[in-house]
């Protein structure tokens, strides 16, 4: 800890990953996140670590998969179309129980879309994305400082559960400059490959095999259930959520990432007008913080879900509310970032209607 430095989000997450003990980066250029690999390419050699620009996102994630099999801390960063290409690897990583961190700086889609900030990969990130019954832990920072802190958490959670952790960001957070303070460097000097790592058998009694393959259905079912058992623990222990002005709130915005940041302004503006508005901001969008919704269900007249997509987290909010209160939605698509004024205007329409 110590002094604050002014840094771009895209560079701050790279520096944070290095300080958190990330030993290898594999990735492929894509806008709007190129500052992150560029920063890694400068810094990793300085600290004697690996930076490798792969020939594609497909190769990059499989390099990550390979490095993860050695138990080291490894990261890739990309943006929506590149993340789509990585889905096969994510699925293999999940069923192989290896740890890694993936940053998705989301842009407008579908297809080539645009390079403006968007949140339309929520479903892909939180519901699996690749084939099979699996999940990744998904963290959604709303400030550069939070992104820096969550990178540390991402590596810790990845190691703790031996699974992939996704940082779901967008181009706005990547480009934004904010003063940040970095946590202490993680000491990597004496780190050894964990007992399960495939680095050569050495003195180990048994050799290690990392595979997602089990040809017998009953055997694979056992593996699948073991995964689900792990996810159960994650769902019990790891949901994180920030509540802003929720103590006396009568209305609640639900939002994550960039829109959640804007929504704090919406709450402040509403409060000045005497509207008792609060914000529920999931920090882990998977596991989704259902208990926070549950805690507030009685006091809230309606929930107002705001996203930069067609209403993807909306489904989870509705699951949490389960029909007990109205859930409205407002969103912008294609990389358009809504203003606080327009969100408040839409919210006030609903309040008018609710009277």
């Amino acid at each position: 800890m110590g002094e604050k430095v002014l840094m771009k989000g895209a560079e701050a997450i790279a520096e944070s990953a290095i300080r958190a003990g990330c030993m290898a980066f594999f990735g492929y250029p894509i806008t709007p996140q190129n500052e992150t690999p560029e920063y890694f390419s400068r810094r990793m050699p300085q600290v004697g670590r690996v930076f490798l620009q792969a020939e594609s996102e497909v190769a990059a994630i499989n390099m990550v998969y390979g490095a993860a099999c050695t138990g080291t801390r490894v990261i890739t960063t990309s943006s929506s179309p590149g993340i789509s290409l990585m889905q096969e690897g994510f699925s293999y990583i999940a069923n192989s129980h290896v740890p890694c961190v993936v940053v998705n700086v989301m842009r407008g889609g579908p297809g080539l879309g645009d390079i403006a900030p968007a949140q339309a990969d929520y479903n892909q990130a939180t519901k699996g994305g690749g084939h099979g019954d699996y999940h990744s832990i998904v963290l959604a920072p709303h400030t550069v400082q939070e992104a820096v802190d969550l990178i540390y958490l991402a590596f810790d959670l990845a190691d703790k559960y031996r699974m992939m952790v996704v940082m779901l960001m967008d181009g706005l957070m990547g480009q934004m400059m904010e003063p940040v303070e970095f946590p202490e460097w993680v000491d990597v000097k004496n780190r050894k490959p964990p007992e399960w790592a495939t680095v050569g058998q050495g003195d180990r009694k048994e050799r290690n095999i990392i595979t997602s393959l089990e040809i017998l259905a009953e055997g694979l079912e056992k593996m699948d259930l073991a995964l689900q058992e792990k996810y159960k623990k994650v769902k019990e222990n790891e949901p994180r959520c920030e509540e802003y002005m929720m103590e006396d709130a009568e209305y609640a915005i639900t939002a994550f990432g960039t829109v959640a940041r804007i929504s704090k302004t919406v709450v402040d503006m509403a409060r000045e007008k005497g509207i008792k508005l609060g914000l529920i901001r999931p920090i882990t969008v998977w596991p989704f913080p259902f208990s926070t919704i549950e805690k507030r269900i009685e006091q809230i007249k309606f929930f107002f879900d705001v996203e930069m997509n067609e209403g993807q987290m909306l489904i989870d909010v509705k699951l949490g509310v389960n029909g007990r209160k109205p859930v409205y939605y407002y969103g912008r698509l294609g990389g358009v970032v809504p203003t606080a004024e327009e969100i408040l205007k839409e919210l006030e329409k609903k309040i008018g209607g609710a009277k």
């Binding site: 497909v58 499989n62 490894v74 096969e88 058998q201």
Partner: protein, 248 residues
């Protein structure tokens, strides 16, 4: 008494599950013998492919990872970069390496990645039932080239070592065949050089092993070996295509 034959220690006790007459067992044996002889078994990680040898880690007893189809070179890259002390190799068939995994292979070679690739070419997709591969010969009948591979429709057999020998990253590139004792002994010599290239930190190394597929070729094992000699080797000639200084 002098031991003239023993099972390599790098082998597990598990009998292979390949079809009768399939040379995968021979390729495995050559690798296992070399791992023993070069003292590599406990340093080695093998990235296995998707294909007939998908369960290769049942038979060769080293640390192992099971790669996605075509991704073994990328995965091996990740392992080697993260843990350079390991001896890292891939074992891949022609569908896995030359079709879906050709980008990963070429770029691993171009980077001079310190990994060793054993590339087994039997001219078709064996595990999925004998479909046409990039290596299928012109005129060859497979389940997806029922009238024979036609150059206009399906292009030409892909010669991977020739392609890789043309780029600067590889330290050792060779093609051997598993059709006769003489060629098998030569294959072992080539593989040893490929292993040496990695141990000496000289660059990427690959040995193609021309193999047969009696089941899908619908031939008995002897006929299939004859076919290698008469039909395959004229198109895929054996020999060393690239040997940098320092590889012995």
């Amino acid at each position: 008494m002098k031991t003239v034959h023993k099972i390599p220690q790098a082998f597990t006790d598990r009998p292979t599950t390949y079809c009768p007459g399939c040379p995968h067992g021979i390729a495995h044996r050559l690798i296992a013998e070399l791992l023993d002889e070069m003292g590599l078994t406990r340093k080695t990680v093998i990235a296995w492919p998707v294909g007939c040898s998908v369960f290769g880690y049942y038979f060769i007893g080293t640390d192992a990872v099971e790669a996605a189809h075509g991704r073994a070179c990328a995965m091996a890259t990740g392992i080697k970069r993260a843990h350079p002390e390991s001896f890292v190799m891939t074992y891949q068939g022609d569908g896995d390496l030359a079709s879906i995994g050709i980008a990963e292979t070429i770029h691993a070679a171009a980077r001079g990645e310190r990994i060793t690739v054993v590339y087994v070419n039997n001219g078709n997709y064996g595990m999925t039932g004998g479909q046409m591969a990039p290596t299928t010969l012109l005129g060859q009948v497979t389940t997806t080239s029922p009238y024979g591979r036609d150059a206009k429709a399906n292009g030409f057999p892909l010669k991977v070592p020739e392609m890789l020998a043309a780029i600067d990253g590889p330290a050792y590139i060779a093609r051997a065949a598993l059709d006769s004792p003489k060629h098998i002994l030569q294959a072992k010599r080539f593989l040893k050089k490929a292993f040496t290239a990695q141990i000496k930190d000289l660059g990427f190394s690959l040995v193609e092993l021309i193999s047969s597929c009696p089941t899908n070729w619908k031939m008995d094992p002897v006929e299939s070996l004859e076919r290698i000699k008469n039909e395959v080797l004229p198109i895929f000639p054996i020999g060393e295509l690239k040997v940098v200084e320092g590889v012995k």
